[in-house]
Symmetry: C2
Subunit: 170 residues, 2 copies
Amino acid sequence: VFVLGIDPGLSRCGYGAVVRERAGLRAVAAGVITTPPSEPLPQRLSALAAELRTLLSELRPDTVAVERVLFQTNARTAMGVGQASGLALAAAAESGAAVVQYSPNEVKLAVVGYGSATKSQVQQMVQTMLALADRPHPPDAADALALAICHLGAAPLAARIAAAAVRADS
Amino acid sequence: VFVLGIDPGLSRCGYGAVVRERAGLRAVAAGVITTPPSEPLPQRLSALAAELRTLLSELRPDTVAVERVLFQTNARTAMGVGQASGLALAAAAESGAAVVQYSPNEVKLAVVGYGSATKSQVQQMVQTMLALADRPHPPDAADALALAICHLGAAPLAARIAAAAVRADS
């Protein structure tokens, strides 16, 4: 099972692909698509759409997990996030992949073990679960990897044990 | 000059194309793209994106005028409108057209003569300015035609005279 997580954003759109193998979860790709705030909005959106389509056609994930955009957050950036999420959901559906959405709280609960985890805790947990040499960064990429892990239903016990380690650590 | 107006929405996305000729403004096309609320969101968004691309490649407008989405409006539908506007702006930019945005108030001010005009007044004014036999409907299509008229900078005097007629009439 091969899942691409997408954390939509206009200035920074995180992506992270995770495959489940017999030995466990493995990160295949992670990064951030950026568009310059100095460019006009329509050009930024079309550039983001083109990059997402390229990513999807190169990786060919079975499932795309897109962060569900909530409305209460920063009103100044919320419209750009909403527009970016529309592009991500449409591009994912067009690619033929299954498309799912998870709220930020669902992801934190699944990955760290509680819904109010910090960005740093998410990064640390993603590093642990994917056995990465370094913390995945920037946070947008870590969030996208966490979305993919969330969908892969990382073993609750493993998550709880690792969460205890993170809490003891911080 | 050939302008396509787009009033973005997920359930109903209005479009209206207007050309300026020596004799005045002429409506070339108007209608509504709908997606069924019973379908999953990613499929609705990709269907809308595909229909917008078809429309743009068939009409080939010089300029696309997209309604600027404001955040204060209905929070329940605002996310869908934001996602649809992202698709419209990206598709318009990809088509090579110039892309502009106008707020609902700017459109009403340009077309009816005051920013708090009702939907019915917009429909009536669009009918008058485009010399249509009937009121353009549904309102989504009329709003899209009004966006195109707004961009074409319909003569302020004509608008004010017609606005006075609308007010006298209602």
